[in-house]
Amino acid sequence: MSGYDLIVKSEHKGPCLPNEERDAVDCLAEYAVSTRLEDLPCEVVEHARHVFLDTLGVIMGGSIEPQASAMAHRLGRQGGGPCTVIGHNLQSSKLNAALVNGTAATWLDFDSGHRPPPGKPLLPAAHPPVHLVPAALAAAEAMGASGAEFLTALVVGYDIGARIGMASRLRAEIHPHGTYHNVSAASAAARLEGADAIRMKNTIALAVHLEIMPSFENAYQGRTVRNVYAGVGATAGILAAQLAKANFSPQHDALGSIYGAIISPWLDPERLVKGLGRQYEITQGFIKPFAACRFAHPAVEAAEKLIKKHPVDPDDIDAVEVMTFDWAASLNDQMPQTDLGAKFSIPWAVASMLVRGSAGADEFRSAALRDERLRAVAARIRVREDPHYSAMTPSKRPARVTVKTGHGEVYTEEVERSGGGPDAPLSKEMIRKKFRDLAEPVIGKEQSEAVIDKVDTLGDIADIRDLTRFLIPPVSSP
């Protein structure tokens, strides 16, 4: 699968290739420090803006959850540093702000991700922005960096982490949050802080050393430490950049040791640099239309198609069968106990669509878990693997939803690839609507529109703080 055809026309100087004097990480470092906004094709910058706006929205949506809010108040305070604790009237240091904002960013599981790594069996997609955006934003605020620098940092940071993920094979039991996109966070921060190629190389390697190996099991069990992985990843990225500044040293081939044996069984250095500077991984991401695990999306979209053609009374649903690919078929909990558990439950996500006609943030918050109609329908949804679908992964990730009503009608709809990815991107208007839905309850309509405007003209903004001042709730008049 190649969504790159659009992009390769760039006339940027050729890729840095490893030779006797420089290895693949030298090339990545060189790319990270030398790329300028002018070098980037317009489509790439447009993607960066979309990813940024989308991530700001999901951070705000997550920031009001009680645990995220408790963490924010513990690690931030009014005037507590140069960096914004998004969604609260609190500030803190780079390290703390990245930790809190990164945690809030993944809370709704509504954040955007990258395509899954190649190979079989299918591995879950990683989510670069929840590491990258909080770290880059904190570094940019502390520096008073320009919007152009910030956007460039997002593009190069995204590339570096994503390339590590695509050049290796993370062990399947490890949750990808807190792993290679810590390096995205670190390289973006170091770029914004003016690192040269040598310091960048050290930063990249130090960030590889500060990767955690968290369990996927927490997601299945709906335990909220899962949301901290990305926050820790963002803060580890900031820390790596700081350690490089303080002359801490990484081992000679950190990437080879850690990705060649420990966190992944092999690393293919060629893939780290293939097409670097011409193919931009940020264009290969997806923006989520539904607030659930990405692998649940084809089923939810099939349910959406189904009810558009055949409006079904939820009370009349007798049974629902979902056939999907191997990985998704494990998301089969009919009675999720927590909001996070609901996001990893196809029965819950499909029931949301069938009952409420929506699978947005609110369908998965704690209050929705008590919705008796939703619970009743979810309990009637069975999820099974279709081996033909499994064979079609990773390029296609299909699902088929069949609804049987009490009146004996049977309806079926199928989706091969869910929307929001490079082949069927969400429209600008859909991205904005999603942002507004998430941001307005937190910062109000006026500031939400201001953020949309600022992100639209980000390349012209001299100081990122001209945008971030809108990311905290308006002070209510006395």
Binding site: S93, H209, R223, V228, K245, F248, H252, N332
Partner: protein, 455 residues
């Protein structure tokens, strides 16, 4: 469907049940004594690294990073969030390779328990006795999981299961009951580093940050539980059975629980180098006590030791940390400088031509028979071939400083503390602090001694 019913009698409940019930008057006095010794030793070792430029830079960064700076950074006059103070302490604690460890696991739970414990104790304003209890409990939980864990090849214990020592100590200092402590452990396991052991061999100083980061993650885990965060039912089995570890022997976690205390089985170091080099160094010291050998008289020096130690054979280490992991440098620097402390690993020592030349005449061989005797023994044999044809030989089954082999007396620990702490604190303050640490259980509020930690 995932299984959701939680058994109430599994190993984690037993373990957390035991350690939350620890009070100084209910555990053997020898365990309390071991707790004091660990605290004295580790505090001194942390202080010893505080004047290193990289540690000072890190301390400055962490103080600046803090929203609620209420924990002192030892040996400085700065304060930080408990999590970030623990990061500095942990990083400093392993800097000189002088921190105590546990030979049955190859890890250093004391460093994490103390690095985190000191920072959280100050924030929570607990008594000295409570800090001691938390350190004993933290050591016990981590060492037992360490005993049961077979880590993935290539991984370092630093940043891995010893994080449980920090998490346990922090949780207990926050007054957690068994249920919340269990939650803390299950949160902390997913915050373990994917650490590579090559960093130490190459002398990459990020190795020191593994310990600091690990201590910080332990504190973070306890704080997250207070914020309402939750962890999986049994993160220890998930992470150490399948992710960081390849096998977890759960029975070993509970074997002799409450009867055998792991903190009593720890070792203390007087040589500032990797523990697995100590048997060889002790053997060499015993030879040179009987014979006054000059470096230039040595034709060659052969070391036979167990396989893990035998990999530490770099004859030309490039930096101080790598030199601490080099048998040739450790032995050569002893023969030239006649000491085994911090000075052996300075940039000056690394550039010393006599040491460099002698290191090149030292060979290291792995020995299958010796390897099969680990971990109850960690043997080494030294054979010195002199230019006049004489051959001197000595061996050691274990390094000194073990609980069951030439233990280090309290007076020696005090000496070590004063030697290490007097630099950053000054002699008087170091002496006062030492006295307070030995009598920590009588301090009603840890604040009584906090002012002594800082410059």
């Amino acid at each position: 469907m995932k299984q959701t019913n939680e058994r109430s009698d599994d190993f984690l409940d037993t373990l957390t049940g035991l350690v939350t019930s620890i009070t100084l008057d209910r555990i053997p006095s020898s365990v309390v004594k071991a707790g004091r010794r660990i605290l004295v030793d580790t505090t001194g070792v942390i202080l010893a690294a505080m004047d290193e430029p990289q540690i000072q830079a890190l301390a400055g960064q962490m103080a600046a990073a803090s929203a609620a700076p209420c924990s002192s950074i030892l040996g400085s006059n700065q304060r930080a969030d408990a999590m970030w103070a623990a990061l500095v302490h942990g990083t400093a604690g392993v800097w000189h390779e002088l921190d105590g460890g546990h030979r049955f696991t190859g890890g250093h739970p004391a460093t994490y328990a103390v690095a985190a414990g000191l920072a959280v104790a100050e924030r929570q304003a607990v008594s000295g006795g409570q800090l001691l209890e938390a350190i004993i409990a933290g050591y016990e939980v981590a060492a037992r999981v360490g005993l049961a864990t077979t880590l993935r090849p290539g991984m370092d214990t630093h940043g891995s299961w010893p994080v449980l020592a920090a998490a346990t100590a922090a949780g207990l200092l926050m007054g957690y009951d068994p249920r919340r402590l269990r939650e803390t452990l299950n949160v902390s396991t997913s915050l373990n580093l994917a650490s590579s052991n090559r960093a130490a061999y190459e002398g990459a100083t990020v190795r020191n940050v593994y310990a600091g980061f690990g201590a910080a993650m332990g504190v973070l885990a306890a704080d997250l539980v207070n914020d309402g965060f939750t962890g999986e039912r049994d993160g220890i089995s998930t992470i150490f059975g399948n992710i960081a570890g390849v096998f977890l022997d759960v029975d070993k976690v509970l074997e002799g629980l409450g009867e055998r205390w792991e903190i009593e089985r720890g070792y203390y170091r007087i040589h500032a180098c990797a523990r697995c080099i100590h048997p060889a160094l002790d053997a060499l010291i015993s030879i040179s006590k009987g014979h006054d050998i000059l470096p230039e008289e040595i034709e060659r020096l052969d070391v036979h030791t167990y396989s893990m130690a035998a990999t530490l054979n770099d004859a030309a280490p490039q930096n101080p940390l790598a030199a601490r992991f080099s048998i040739p440098h450790v032995l050569a620097s002893y023969l030239v400088l006649r000491e085994t402390g911090v000075a052996n690993y300075s940039q000056t020592a690394l550039k010393n031509d006599k040491i460099r030349a002698l290191a090149r005449r030292i060979t290291v061989r792995g020995d299958r028979g010796m390897t099969s005797r680990t971990p109850s023994q960690r043997p080494a044999l030294i054979r010195v071939v002199l230019r006049d044809g004489r051959i001197l030989e000595a061996s050691a089954a274990l390094a000194s400083g073990e609980y069951d082999h030439q233990p280090l007396e309290d007076e020696k620990l005090s000496e070590k503390f004063l030697y290490l702490a007097s630099g950053p604190l000054g002699k008087q303050k170091a002496t006062d602090l030492l006295d307070k640490l030995w009598h920590l259980d009588t301090a009603e509020d840890i604040a009584e001694i906090n002012h002594l930690f800082t410059k």
